[in-house]
């Protein structure tokens, strides 16, 4: 055991530098976490999604849809079959979105990915299963509803649900998007302004 600790603990003359470095890394991480409002990413509040302006047009279209009162982003876009899966999926997606956003890799027209499609489809069914399940058919033939529930995407017909059909970073550009908390704290602003002057 102590062998291992010895192995990890750097030689005396390095200890200060390493401690400072670790402190810096943790600090920077926390800073990024803060600046990017990552905490909010863990919540179900739709406002968290428009933390990134790239999600504005989806927010806007959802905000004008009949689902606004009934389903938030995560109701559709995150798996709800168990709690672990929910947060795992969120973290995975969140990481990719954040990375792409920061590296400016987002395309003009964002398209939902294969994995996301399945999640959403499952969620449509989760809420609407009553309507689309034909019990009589189930009694006859257990697979009958496969088609309605799996093979075909609901939004092949319900093309406007919930985001409408026009998709681009610029769609709904005049919409009222709630003002997300200002990301740059005043003390940083002050420092920056001082340096400039």
């Amino acid at each position: 055991m102590s062998k291992i600790i010895n192995y990890i603990v750097p030689p005396k003359n390095w200890q200060l530098i390493v401690t400072v470095l670790i402190g810096l890394i943790i600090g920077l991480f926390l800073y990024i976490f803060y600046v990017s409002n990552a905490v909010s990413y863990l919540s179900d509040n739709p406002e968290t999604c428009i933390n990134c302006h790239v999600m504005n047009s989806q927010y806007d279209s959802w905000n004008h849809s009949s689902h606004r009162e009934r389903a938030n982003c995560n109701d559709c876009h995150v798996p709800h079959n168990n709690v672990f899966n929910k947060y795992f999926f969120k973290a995975k997606d969140g990481m990719r979105h954040a990375t792409m956003f920061t590296l400016r890799l987002e395309p003009q027209v964002i398209q939902i990915k294969e994995a996301g499609i399945e999640v959403v489809q499952d969620n449509c069914i989760r809420c609407h299963s009553n309507l689309i399940t034909d019990h009589r058919m189930l009694g006859l033939h257990n697979d009958y509803n496969n088609f309605r529930e799996e093979e075909r995407k609901c939004w092949e017909c319900h093309r406007e649900v919930p985001h409408g059909r026009v998709r681009s970073l610029s769609a709904g550009k005049n919409s009222l998007i709630p003002d997300v908390r200002k990301p740059i704290p005043n003390w940083i602003n002050n420092i920056v302004n001082k340096i400039e002057k």
Binding site: H80, R126, N130, H135, G139, H141, C157, E160
Partner: protein, 476 residues
Amino acid sequence: LASSITERRAEVTATYKQEVKIKDWEPRNEVWGKNFPTEYDSYQLNSESNFASKYNGNAMIDMLEADPRLVVLWAGYGFSKDYNQGRGHTYAIEDIRNTLRTGGPENENEGPMPSTCWTCKSPDVPRVMNEQGVKEFYTGKWARLGAEIVNPIGCADCHNNETMELQISRPALVEAFDRMGRDINDATHQEMRSLVCAQCHVEYYFDKKRPGAEGSAYLTFPWDNGMSVEKMEEYYDNKNFSDWTHKLSKAPMLKAQHPGYETYLTGIHAERGVSCADCHMPYMSEGGKKYTDHHIQSPLNNIENSCMVCHKEKTAQLLKDVYDRQDKVIENRDKLEELIVRAHVEAKTAWDLGASDNQMEDILMDIRHAQWRWDYAAASHGASFHSPVEISRVISSGITVAQEARIKLARLLINLGYEGEVPYPDITTKAKAQEFIGLPMDKLETEKDQFLKTLAPKWDAEAKDRESKMPIIYNN
């Protein structure tokens, strides 16, 4: 949650008992209806016959009266006697009995039509095919099966009786796929929602030379080279096949019969994976449950449930979209129709002036090809909406060929001593047109009346007797 769903499903299986057991080959729609009352109720609405859209609908419309030029185009062929706007599936039996095309048979060996005509009219067909054999089904006169085939198009045509899955009940479609090197078993569910229709809403001909089935009128879809107007034409040309010889022009004619599926495939909706059922059998809801509308009709009578699920435009706008396309396509289809009428009449004039077979050969082939194109565009009833760009293409090429025929005729006629334009016949009414081509309408109508009063009721009685012996098994 997942387990909760499974549980609920099991529950459901238990509660929803099937009222009756549907046996193999059950042709009676009302028997299926006992298990599926919602679908059956909507199916019954197919008997409505009061909706007329601009060009289609389910109202009874005498198409020869509406457009007497058709009489001339089909001179020498059954369609010049009688042709009506198609109606709902529940009319299939009534309409085929009533049409003058099937004549007035007095017994099972009489009449102008083969038994094959029944193929697309009833769920009795798979039953009888199973009993008699396919080749045998296609053999003999239409009247031969009159007592066997009495239930209008229905459940057994499209559904498996045990699982209710969509299934193909007609051999012609399977055989055609086979010859194209394709297997319907590979079709996706969504494709099946169109393929059940493709059993009937397709171009066909009666092959009288099929090896192993000589003597029968074997129902065949001419898709071996492809489904485009050119590829099917090539198929028929290669086989030297013609449906009839035109009474005026003596051209070896082809009749295009409702190539609905073939033309639908070339349109944007098919390209985007929209099926026939999506528009003609949209989901409806009753008591918070979705079911498939079995009132199969013009979607223009139900734009809200069909188009508007996918398109957010207003009803009036969508109606306008359909009519705009139909108007633009049909404007030139009408022109082509007139040009072909002229070509037939000019060709007749040439024969009358002593033209030789040799001089006429090319001209007659042009007429054949032009009318085939016209009919492909006209008989595929929904196609000026299903695929307006392809249908326009077909019509343009038809006009080119029709006019080529007329250029050749113009040269020939002058050489035969005819000066100027051949006058357009007076065919302003159906009666005048039928007289022009020399049809004995009174006789045809009398024979039909006779048939409907004597033979048809016998068929019904015989069928009633047979069906009374087919028990309905109730699940207790």
